[in-house]
């Protein structure tokens, strides 16, 4: 199914204006609302190339532009099918934006796209890391019961640093993976799933571990916010 492809199709042309629609959901050139089929891919929905470096400004621009094309508010007087499609595509657009606009969720989504199941396979974190995280959590509990705001603040700051370091590593590892994929380039006639990495790619394994660790620190950070 065309819509299942993680890569933007080369031969994709808008049936109304003939231009490259740019997005799965609506033609960015003429505004025609498109039927994306089932389970379409978030990058393509938002008019982005999953192999390109993520640019939040372009993503937001596309999100706003597509929102104006798709939102049910602007479909007054259109036929029922178009209205229903607009609601469905709006919900897909919002879902794509929610995931891609968040560093953590976007990175998780991206590596799953190229190495399905990698997150699940590397869910178990090392005992050393878990021990460390547990100590921080206990320290936070103590600080909360004692009402020590400074310690809470200190824990929040260090959690932020831990997240940032990992996300930086994730970004460069993702860039390296993408570069390898992009270097291979889309070969004419090649079946797309072949572009997915082998299931034992050390690079995506490393990214998966970093992302799981980042999630643990995000939870701690969240707890410090609730503590205040």
């Amino acid at each position: 199914m065309a819509a299942d492809r993680p890569f933007p199709s080369e031969s994709n042309r808008c049936s109304a204006c003939g231009a490259d629609p740019g997005s799965n959901l609506a033609c960015l050139a003429c505004g025609l609302i498109l039927d994306p089929g089932r389970d379409p891919e978030h990058f393509a929905n938002l008019g982005l190339d999953s192999l390109a470096t993520f640019d939040p400004a372009i993503a937001e621009l596309n999100y706003l532009k597509l929102s104006r094309l798709l939102h049910p508010d602007f479909q007054a007087g259109r036929d029922e099918r178009t209205q229903a499609l607009a609601v469905r595509n709006s919900s897909l657009l919002n879902e794509a934006w929610k995931i891609l606009n968040d560093d953590q969720m976007r990175s998780e989504y991206l590596i799953e796209l190229y190495d399905p199941g990698v997150l699940e396979r590397h869910k178990a974190l090392s005992p050393e890391f878990l021990m460390e995280a547990m100590e921080v959590s206990e320290e936070l509990d103590d600080a909360q019961t004692q009402g020590c705001k400074e310690t809470v603040q200190k824990i929040a700051n260090s959690a932020r640093t831990e997240i940032e370091t990992r996300m930086k590593d994730v970004a460069s590892a993702c860039a390296a993976t993408i570069a390898r994929l992009a270097h291979k380039g889309p070969q004419p006639g090649e079946t797309l799933p072949a572009k997915q990495l082998s299931t034992h790619d050390s690079n995506t394994e490393q990214i998966a571990v970093l992302l799981h660790q980042a999630r643990v620190y995000r939870r701690i950070l969240r707890d410090t916010e609730n503590a205040r």
Partner: protein, 622 residues
């Protein structure tokens, strides 16, 4: 507005409030409030039932609260989509009227002399009055509206509001969140960009929304609130003070009659309003005792009493900011909405807490209706520059094994939002699956609110576990859930039967509409009257203009005759007799038709003469 748009259907914005309701519309000069004939904009959200079973709405109904507390329904918004336990627990006996359980469900009903009304029906009566007011002000029938609800209203409360509109014969084109509407009203005349916090403390509800405005797109990042915290609760705290004073005057075991309770409630509201302007407020309350009870309240005592409630609203603000991922320092503006934001302590604490100067330029009672009218204009194709992207206030999910709550659409997801989930069967040849849908933030479904049970039917018989039923949950732009499903192996659409836990089924809504034919007839007649009055006024104005034309050759008798007709027409237009007004309009219209033709002829002649006299006086050509 272009000609084409002018001929389009009128869509008004309605703020259906706990205390007051009102309507607004976008005209040539921007949004404006639609006033009642006496010039008043706010229609008290009060319905009072008369002895003959008919009802009145608004200011007159509010006055009857004291004399007829059991027949006068106020604050019905607090009952929308609620079951009897929820109401009893929160409102206890402060309402004055009877709230009972529905015969075949847990839903709250209002009991007026044994006749039960749903909160939706009472709300529909209020909406009917708002609509009549709008039709009178516009001189045109109104069929569609954008209606506002608190952002923190859950699915059941939103559904109830939609059903109320349906019962009132209004098409609710959109349910808009009140704080978002307010942000629209504030943002219209400036090209605002940045992060805005809307603090909305109304008569019965509190909402806070964090919005990011970019290029005319108003995107809500997060919302939080409490649908049972508002001015009513402040009133109740004053009522407690008053009751303390009253008890000194009466026997300790004496009960206070409902009439007196309503008097105390209204007095409390007055005291509260006085305390916004002065340091102390005093009232004499006549409870039918030997002498009236003197009561004085200082602002300091009032502030001490309400402080915990305001602190609760501030905590909500912070959780909304946390959810939005925004530090308080990053907030650009704070907008204050709702009558209760007139209380000085509220303003003072919010300003201090968020460290921003507050926007209070627009009337906090009217800003929501104005915003709703802007959204109405967007939906009717007027404005294309603005777009609202709102969120769902509470997570939505299903019950899984052991009563756990599995979230499918998390809170603060932008709507429209959707989620899909796969289901299968546990027994061979099972053809239906029941799914319980809940809304809330807790881990177990017993701590969340059940929205309803969805039964998937028509699954083809297959061995257990083999069917793959994909269920799609779609939350539309109103924040209301719809569910669709499909069995993937057979491509069969499984039909879905929805049993709402806190609302009316589609059939119940239909029944109510059918039963309210009398109401519909009243509405129809009222609209007819509006149109006829309008016609009469146009006829009168036109005729008077012709009478004033100096070039018309009227005899004194003719003039006298027309003046008599006009006076008669005026008096009929002020009355309520539709048949007579229609007859008079028709007869007078026919009579003046010839007059109008003649006037046009005379006017053209006069105009030609003027044109000729303007020509330069040159020698006449032979």
């Amino acid at each position: 507005m272009t000609e084409k748009q002018a001929s389009q259907e009128i869509v008004i914005g309605i703020d259906l409030g706990t205390t007051n309701s009102l309507a607004a519309i976008v005209g040539k000069d921007g949004p404006r409030i639609l006033h009642q004939r006496d010039g008043e904009a706010l229609i008290p959200s009060v319905v009072s039932f008369l002895d003959d079973g008919s009802h009145i709405v608004g200011e007159k109904a509010r006055h009857r609260a004291v004399t007829h507390p059991r027949h006068t329904v106020h604050s019905v918004k607090r009952l929308m989509g609620q079951n009897i336990d929820e109401v009893k627990q929160r409102e206890s006996d402060r309402l004055g009227y009877q709230v009972v359980q529905a015969k075949d469900s847990l839903l709250a009903r209002i009991d007026i002399d044994g006749k039960l009304y749903t909160p939706q029906e009472i709300s529909a009566m209020i909406l009917g009055e708002v609509r009549r007011t709008a039709e009178e002000a516009l001189g045109k029938p109104v069929k569609s509206a954008v209606i506002t609800v608190p952002a923190y209203f859950d699915d059941a409360q939103r559904q109830a509001t939609r059903d109320a509109a349906k019962i009132a014969g209004l098409q609710a084109l959109r349910i808009v969140n009140e704080p978002t509407a307010a942000a629209l009203a504030y943002g219209l005349d400036t090209s605002r960009e940045g992060t805005v916090v809307v603090y909305d403390l109304g008569g019965g509800t509190f909402d806070v929304s964090v919005l990011k405005i970019t290029q005319g797109v108003y995107k809500v990042s997060a919302t939080a609130g409490n649908t049972h915290l508002g001015g009513d609760d402040f009133d109740m705290l004053i009522v407690d003070f008053i009751l303390g004073a009253v008890k000194e005057h009466i026997a300790s075991d004496a009960t206070i009659p409902p009439e007196a309770m309503q008097q105390i409630r209204l007095s409390a509201e007055q005291l509260k309003q006085q305390l916004s302007a002065s340091e102390t407020a005093a009232l004499e309350i006549d409870l039918g005792l030997e002498e009236p009870v003197h009561f004085t309240l200082s602002r300091a005592d009032f502030e001490t009493a309400i402080r915990p409630l305001i602190d609760e609203t501030l905590a909500c603000c912070h959780s909304a900011l946390t959810d939005a991922g925004i530090q308080p320092e990053a907030v650009d503006e704070v907008v204050m909405v709702g009558g209760s934001t007139r209380i000085p302590l509220v303003r003072q604490l919010v300003e201090k807490d968020l460290g921003r100067k507050l926007h209070v330029e627009l009337d906090p009672d009217r800003v929501v209706a104005l915003g709703a009218s802007i959204q109405a204009d967007i939906l009717s194709g007027g404005t294309k520059d603005l777009l609202l992207l709102d969120v769902i206030p509470l997570s939505l999910g299903i019950e899984t094994v052991g009563g756990a709550f599995s979230k499918l659409v998390t809170r603060n997801s932008t709507v429209p939002a959707r989620a899909t989930e796969m289901f299968s069967t546990s027994v061979d040849d099972q053809t239906s699956i029941e799914i319980n849908v809940f809304q809330g933030e807790r881990e177990l479904v017993r701590d969340c609110r059940q929205l309803g049970a969805f039964k998937l039917r028509g699954i083809p018989p297959m061995p257990a576990g083999l069917p793959r039923v994909e269920v799609t949950f779609l939350v539309d732009a109103d924040g209301v859930l719809t569910v669709t499903s499909r069995e993937q192996r057979s491509e069969v659409e499984a039909s879905i039967e929805v049993v709402p836990s806190h609302g009316l089924t589609r059939d119940e809504v239909k029944d109510i509409i059918r039963n309210s034919i009398k109401m519909a007839r009243d509405d129809f007649l009222a609209r007819d009257l509006v149109e006829l009055r309008n016609k009469a006024n146009n006829l009168a104005t036109g005729t008077r203009r012709v009478l004033a034309m100096p070039e018309m050759p009227f005899t004194d008798e003719q003039r006298q005759d027309l003046e008599t007709d006009l006076a008669h027409l005026d008096s009929l237009a002020k009355g309520e007799d539709i048949a007579e007004l229609r007859a008079k309009c028709d007869a007078f219209g026919e009579k003046t038709q010839a007059l109008a033709d003649q006037a046009i002829g005379e006017a053209i002649k006069a105009e030609l003469n003027r044109e000729q006299s303007k020509l330069p006086s040159s020698p006449q050509q032979p």
